[in-house]
Amino acid sequence: MLFFSFFKTLVDQEITVELKNDIQIVGTLLSVDQYLNLKLDNIQVDTEKYPQFLALKSIFLRGTNIRYIHLNPSTVDTNLLQDASRREAMASAGEKIAGR
């Protein structure tokens, strides 16, 4: 859930997604769901190399095919993210003790 919330804070920001088939897609993040499927708007792809993406503006990307998401550091508070990671780790440890 941490990264679902994290990516929700990045909606309307420009991100670069690298897929597992090496294609890079730059676009504005429109939405994200719990599986980290992404929707991007105004996408830019090297269509010389990948004509498959010609005439597309808005695209839905399945999370499982994503390798990396490159972020702009100015849009991310890394201290906040570290704290959130610690908290999420604590919460899941608590769940285990509670027998969940």
Partner: protein, 86 residues
Amino acid sequence: MTVAEPLDLLKQNLDEKIFVKLSGYREMVGKLHGYDSHCNIVLGDAVETIYSLTEEEGKLTSEQKNHTLVFIRGDSVILVTDGENL
């Protein structure tokens, strides 16, 4: 601090340099800013190394890429270790 479960290793290395081995003959070294139980990882000032074999001779070559801030999807992660003594 002890490592009671595998992911504690990531917790201990928050804000520290780590080394991540990834599928597709890739490695990444960078500062750990975030992670979750799926091994999704966010690294800062990361250097990625991609290994490949040349077509003719089958010689091992590598190329490097810099990433200022990158989210790595956990399903590509093979191993994580601390990156201080690299």
